[in-house]
């Protein structure tokens, strides 16, 4: 196993085999991040590719002041957000979260809920209905194991906001899961 610095050095010198190793190492992180934000599968694949191309082009500017995973996640976040902004008619980034929380609670009726196969599938479908900010913090914290400080560095959101979004997102999902379990019985 080669260390990260050596791989970066090789990539900066144009070694594509080394870059393939790096992509394999971080493809899960980028796919999770981009896939949760850009929900159209084909668009998400294009944005993921775009993220790694940006990583390749700008890797020489990486100064080891943060973890490479944080740096790559930051590029993935910015690319996904830019993609959403371009398609902002479909995906409004400025939706009022408070209004959303009110609507979300009555979004699905129990009959529809019962059609879902597993808790996992149900929760993932519910996550897809959450606002971008909630999806971002949930993915970065639970799936990609970033700390609050790292999420702050990636997204530029203050730590308090991140905690608040995480709390509210979990609470909404918990209520939905509770309802789901209730109707399952």
């Amino acid at each position: 196993m080669q260390n990260e610095e050596e791989i970066i050095f090789r990539i900066v010198n144009g070694d594509l085999a080394a870059f393939k190793i790096l992509v394999t190492q971080y493809e899960k992180l980028v796919s999770h991040m981009v896939g949760r934000l850009v929900q159209n599968r084909e668009d998400a694949q294009d944005v993921s590719q775009e993220v790694f191309i940006k990583v390749y082009r700008h890797l020489h500017t990486f100064r080891f002041q943060s973890k490479l995973s944080t740096w790559i996640a930051q590029i993935a976040y910015v690319s996904a957000i830019n993609h959403l902004k371009k398609n902002s008619r479909k995906n409004s980034l400025t939706d009022d979260i408070t209004d959303f929380e009110h609507c979300y609670k009555t979004m699905e009726n129990p009959e529809t809920i019962l059609l879902k196969k597993s808790h996992s599938e149900f929760i993932n479908q519910q996550i897809a209905l959450l606002p971008v900010q909630f999806r971002t913090v949930l993915t970065l914290f639970h799936l990609n194991e970033f700390s609050y400080l790292e999420i702050e560095e990636i997204t530029g959101m203050p730590e308090g906001t991140i905690k608040s979004y995480l709390f509210r997102a979990r609470k909404l999902l918990k209520e939905k899961l509770e309802l789901y379990i209730k109707y399952q019985r």
């Binding site: 796919s31 993921s48 590719q49």
Partner: protein, 139 residues
């Protein structure tokens, strides 16, 4: 996938229940939160992107090849421009006799110039038509 150990889970749960303010039915809530945290940490199948590494590397290789071709074409164009300008300045600002002597020089070494041009053309044709073989080996 983030595997929460008991300690981490207890911390997150306590925090969530404390902030939630509905900690009266802790047992029931803790079961639901436990389930939720476990699902949130699971790798979602739908987000996987198989073949991403190959696709990215292929795209970068293609764009680098294009960039090389572009650089080469620019170099040829620059050479042509320099040659045209040099001819123009020689004819108009130096003297026709200097130009004539330059052509005489080419005439004397015409076979050498023909050989250089022919070699250049053959190299270019070979570069475009021959297949590049790469030895197989561990990357």
């Amino acid at each position: 996938m983030k595997e929460l150990n008991e300690e981490e889970f207890a911390r997150l749960l306590a925090q969530q229940l404390k902030e939630d303010g509905t900690g009266t039915d802790i047992d029931k809530d803790s079961v639901i939160y436990r389930e939720l945290f476990s699902v949130l940490a699971d790798d979602p199948v739908g987000l996987r992107n198989p073949g991403l590494a190959d696709a990215v590397v292929a795209q970068i290789s293609a764009s680098e090849e294009k960039a090389d071709v572009r650089k080469y074409n620019l170099a040829i164009a620059a050479l042509l421009v320099v040659w045209i300008l040099a001819t123009y300045f020689t004819m108009n600002y130096i003297s026709p006799s200097t130009l004539r002597s330059a052509f005489d020089f080419i005439g004397v070494y015409k076979w050498l110039f023909a050989f250089i041009i022919l070699s250049f053309v053959i190299i270019q044709l070979a570069d475009k038509s021959l297949v590049k073989n790469k030895l197989a080996g561990p990357d």
